[in-house]
């Protein structure tokens, strides 16, 4: 990593953005911790899940299946579908996840919705690397801190009441803007947004968002693609 003065300001700006997101991560990590313990997990199991799985939607889905009396196999089914999109994100973040084996392993673990959204809203490669390696550890720490607090405290916070369930779509909206500058981007976005909602009632949770990824082909057909 080369740290020109420019990259230092990118890092500073990223820290500010990531700290705002971290608030939502702590609260949702905590609600995951509460749900996990409520579903019969020990504090250690809840924390291990956030440390090792680190993909919120999968974790939530696994725990809610167990809480409603489902088997381990059925919990794994839904959680696996929800985890699959990280493979697609990984393709987009591959340039940021380069380095030695340890660095690649850690980088890969941090490939999730929010890091992908942050990184891909940057254009130049050096800034993308800076954003990834600055924001990801903050968000990882926040998610795990939240899980620990929630697992220890159990109950108490209701994210719904404070409108925090709107925090994720709202964040993604702010991060989507740079992708709508091109015609191809707008077409891909339109496809993704419509298919996800249109398919939701008909196919298992986790699949619609994977189908949305095919919006890239729809976008490409717009004009043979442009930058």
């Amino acid at each position: 990593m080369d740290h020109g003065p420019n990259q230092r300001s990118v890092a500073a700006r990223t820290v500010r953005v990531a700290l705002v997101m971290a608030v939502a991560f702590v609260v949702f990590g905590a609600s995951f911790g509460v749900l996990a313990v409520g579903a019969g997990a020990s504090v250690a199991q809840a924390c291990a899940m956030s440390l090792l799985v680190f993909t919120g939607a999968s974790q939530m889905s696994a725990v809610s299946v167990i809480a409603s009396g489902g088997s381990v196999a059925s919990a794994l089914g839904g959680a696996t579908l929800l985890a699959a999109r990280n493979a697609v994100y990984g393709l987009a973040l591959a340039p940021e996840v380069r380095g030695g084996p340890l660095r690649r392993a850690i980088g890969a673990q941090w490939v999730i919705d929010e890091t992908t959204a942050l990184v891909t809203s940057e254009a130049d490669p050096a800034s993308r690397r800076t954003v990834f390696w600055t924001a990801a550890p903050i968000l990882y720490a926040a998610w795990n801190l939240g899980t620990l607090l929630g697992a220890l405290a159990g109950g108490a916070i209701d994210p719904h009441r404070f409108g925090l369930d709107a925090a994720f779509p709202v964040m993604f909206t702010a991060m989507l803007a740079p992708h709508l500058r091109t015609r191809a981007g707008r077409r891909a976005a339109l496809f993704g947004g419509i298919t996800t909602v249109a398919l939701a009632p008909f196919i298992p949770v986790g699949l619609p968002i994977l189908v949305a990824a095919f919006g890239m082909l729809f976008g490409l057909s717009a004009d043979g693609g442009e930058s």
Partner: protein
Amino acid sequence: MTWTLVLVLAAIAFGFKVMGAVVIGQRTMPMVLERCLLLIPAALLTGLITKDTFTNGQALTLDARALGLAVAVVATWRRLPFIVVIVLGVGSTALLRTLA
């Protein structure tokens, strides 16, 4: 809740991430595929936005989150800073719920 679930899910989730970011992603790809990959975030972000706003599991919903999203769209369009977009979006959702 068992350690089997925790560890198997950890292996699956990490497997997906490594498959995308390291195994497939770090090969040189044809130009057309590179252009496709650039469009993934646009498609997936909008998918996540509509999923997180208008669905609850498999059910379609229209609730206070929709107001938060509308406010966020306007705030983003007006080029307001990230934190302001978040506060306005989350705040309007909470406000509507309190009033309702």
